[in-house]
């Protein structure tokens, strides 16, 4: 332990990590962690028990409650594109300080986190306001036909690769306002090239990772938009209406799970101990170590997923291939991925997001006061006790929903009710494992001195 602390001090790049978007969360206390674990197992058995002699009727009814006003859409499109450009411009020409420049708070907190949580409530609004789509909409009319037809076999792998690079940038890349703006400009350029190469429809369906991410998250929302009409439906039920059509989407969901888990896990003692074990054997770059860890993380989750699916296939002697099962059940893991994210990051919505009020008045970090709010320094730090309970409650909720969804999918896939029930034991085990991983990470003492 002493040695580890000493070595941590010797490595400045560890010490300076997490300068922006710092979490004030304390680890969940041990008794609450035990409760979370016990409750997870209890609800799993309760749900299985309930469905033992019950045939579920999936009510997928939705009712229309309003229309989308096209003029409203136009307005939010303009706002979205303007904010995207403001994010780039402030980073390039403003003060290169993460706290006084508009772009870091707006991009990482308001857009990446805020929009994710908003999407769970109001649905996939990104489909309309995607600034990359808006800012590249001139491309297709000019070039006419795209250079290639999108090869279907590629699936969502381009989006997965971009998503990985994005998470790498977020967790390991240590951005500052200038770097962030350059990356966003470059990403805009990639989007232009992408639209030229495979056409707008395919690009934003398979390659632009925010589009893929928000489309998946939007499936949990109780609000749905179809042909300009707004419908209200039971939350999460759309996850049952469709399934992953390509294995790359399974990997995408695995990475949604594993990237958040990784961000928590890398602040724990086992992780740091692992680094020093490798450090003694010649690995001297912490960034390389973290990058390898991040890269391997989705495969660890995939391995657990396939193992338990395989077990389910074995005990029910099902004819569907393992790949087909992996595709069919993938969406049922989205609620767990979502609650991982919420439990880990939601406090930033309180501690960091309100700063945007000040930053709108002074976006470049100069001495401006455009809206008269330049001196607004909110300090909303939630009580750590409340945060703990909320974290465990979110994790439990996600677990319950995922177990329920997996059960309904099983009823669809397996010929007999008995087989569907039997098949659930490995699936529920998988979800218990994923949920316990989430809880365990929240309960780990954050690596003492530096992280």
């Amino acid at each position: 332990m002493k040695k580890i602390l000493f070595l941590l001090l010797a490595l400045p790049q560890i010490a300076s990590a997490h300068a922006f978007g710092q979490l004030y969360n304390l680890p969940v206390p041990f008794w609450l962690y035990l409760y979370g674990a016990a409750a997870t197992i209890l609800v799993s058995f309760l749900i299985i028990g309930y469905f033992l002699n019950q045939t579920t009727e999936i009510r997928s009814s939705s009712f229309q409650f309003g229309n989308l006003n096209p003029r409203f859409i136009t307005v939010i499109k303009i706002i979205s594109a303007a904010l995207f450009l403001l994010t780039i411009v402030t980073g390039l020409f403003g003060k290169n300080n993460s706290f006084s420049n508009f772009n870091m708070t707006f991009f990482w907190v308001i857009f990446v986190l805020g929009l994710t949580y908003l999407t769970t409530i109001i649905g996939n609004i990104y489909h309309f306001i995607n600034p990359l789509k808006i800012l590249t909409s001139w491309v297709e009319p000019i070039i006419g036909k795209s250079l290639f037809n999108y090869p279907a076999s590629l699936g969502y792998y381009p989006a997965l690769i971009l998503y990985f690079l994005f998470i790498w940038l977020e967790l390991i890349g240590q951005t500052d306002p200038i770097k962030l703006s350059i990356v966003l400009l470059f990403y805009l350029f990639i989007n232009v090239v992408g639209v030229i190469t495979v056409g707008q429809t395919s690009w934003f369906r398979y390659c632009e990772f925010f589009s893929v991410f928000f489309r998946l998250i939007g499936k949990v929302s109780p609000i749905e938009q179809r042909e300009g009409k707004l419908y209200l439906r039971a939350p999460f039920t759309v996850l049952l209406k469709s399934s992953a059509e390509h294995f790359s989407l399974v990997m995408f969901i695995m990475f949604m799970l594993s990237s958040t888990a990784f961000d928590g896990f890398r602040e724990t003692l086992p992780w740091v101990t692992m680094f020093f074990w490798l450090f003694d054997r010649g690995l001297d770059s912490y960034a390389v170590f973290e990058s390898i860890g991040l890269f391997l993380s989705p495969f660890i989750f995939l391995l657990m997923y396939l193992l338990l699916l395989g077990l389910g296939k074995l005990i029910t002697r099902n004819n569907l291939s393992l790949k087909e099962l992996a595709l069919q059940f993938a969406f049922t893991l989205i609620p767990i991925a979502l609650v991982y994210n919420i439990a880990h990051y939601f406090t930033l919505i309180f501690t960091e997001a309100p700063n945007i009020v000040r930053l709108f008045s002074n976006p470049f970090g100069l001495n401006w006061n455009l809206l008269g709010t330049a001196e607004f320094y909110p300090k909303i730090i939630l009580n750590a006790g409340f945060v703990w309970h909320a974290q465990v409650a979110f994790i439990l909720l996600g677990h319950v929903v995922s177990v329920y969804l997996a059960h309904v999918v099983a009823l669809k896939l397996f010929s007999s009710h008995r087989h569907a029930i039997i098949s659930q034991f490995p699936m529920v085990t998988l979800m218990v494992v994923f949920t316990l991983i989430g809880l365990w990470i929240l309960a780990q003492p954050v690596m003492g001195l530096t992280h």
Partner: protein, 128 residues
Amino acid sequence: MKILSFIIITLALLLGLFFFFKPKPQLSETKQNPQQIPVPITKTFNLVINANKIASGPEVLKANHNDLVIIKVISDSADALHLHGYDHSVQLSPNVEKQLSFKANLTGRFEFELEHSKTHLGVLEVQP
């Protein structure tokens, strides 16, 4: 209807389980003598900083909600000690003892650093 009763039973069981696990609040002295006004507990930490590192003193300062926290600092160089979250700062001049004292009214894990040299020193953990 059946699903509703299932949900209610589940919630009741989860709640029961919660109170089963929740540690019993310890009988504090204030509870035994309700008339007595609780005196805030003072937690004092002494930090010596040499070459931008803590040479003596804890790296994790532990306190409880509403404790009175006093951080005494002696540094070998001029800088400022900044505590995140609370946003408290104190100017440091070489080899002069300075102190930061405040009521720990925010709970959580707050880093403190040397502001000018931007070096992370340690954390203050305030338990709820």
